[in-house]
Assembly symmetry: C2
Homo-oligomer: 209 residues x 2
Amino acid sequence: MKILITAGPTHEPIDAVRYIANRSSGRMGLALCSAALAARHDVTAIFGPVQLALPPGVRRIDVETSDQMHAAVLAEFPRQDLLIMAAAVADFRPVRLTGDKLARAGRLTIECEATPDILAAAARIKQPHQRTIGFSLESRGNVARSREKLARKNLDLIVYNPIDTMSSATIESILLYPSGREEPLPLRSKADFAAVLVARAEVLWRNKT
Amino acid sequence: MKILITAGPTHEPIDAVRYIANRSSGRMGLALCSAALAARHDVTAIFGPVQLALPPGVRRIDVETSDQMHAAVLAEFPRQDLLIMAAAVADFRPVRLTGDKLARAGRLTIECEATPDILAAAARIKQPHQRTIGFSLESRGNVARSREKLARKNLDLIVYNPIDTMSSATIESILLYPSGREEPLPLRSKADFAAVLVARAEVLWRNKT
């Protein structure tokens, strides 16, 4: 398969020196790249700003903002078989206040707007042969919210993972399928999880073409 | 001298996964640590969240938020001779909205309050034998603003540097002294700049004790 993986955070500028970011180490994305390469897939990775070396063989596209990631995904997805969105894209970005540096003051109000929903945008241009997998970091137990995203974004699989396992070397998750099937994956290393996810993606790919 | 150096950005949580940050690579702090060690000073470094290896011999204290940096500086400064504040501390932090993850919505307003002014706090407990040096990243040409900070924060030296040289491997600066003296330092590597700043700090130290 030709696999497109997004990973890392995005940074949304507030002014010339400040930005809003999401906590994301990019390590899940790195694990997915490694697992996909090990399974001999063709891997393109769109990474937000993290300092991580990727294994040789990955075509890497570096971006900073959600707008840049959005543009990169829309440009790359048409030539791919599978999109795995593991990036922690900022859901909000400041309505740009100034290109200069804000002076310290007693209070500051940062007005934010929603960033483009990249997975939903990819869903709109998704061809019948293409597969999309998303991640859904939610409050523990809020699987219903992940299931709602699975349907709304026309995904073939969504990974629910509870927020309290964030920034960890391990991941606890439940794989949710459109059929209603749920596959719990108890706590394991991100490398082990990534190998399972790539194997499940291969099944999705084989079963529907 | 016993030198305390702050460096790197701070991260100010918005919710469980999002934060406000300042662009700072921590490389100036690293250069200052190296220059101070090379000049055989005793070096303690308080670093915000950056992935940078420091030279062996530096006592390193890792912090994440401006509150943590504030507490660390107030705890460490009394036993130091010199404080160099090279950290890009966030001037604003969200009035904490939620410990959970905010759902995406059409708009979001982040109310922020000023973070503690760490250099001003250090100035309040500064003993006659102690020296303090600050950095002032300003719009190009706004040296007056740096001079105002020099006075207000009771500093012995402030480094004006124009914002357009940010995130660079080099730095262009003007050293400002309480006497009114200005020492322009044209563009040079951060390592070369750091060696000059440590040399100037040694003069400040010798001249006033």
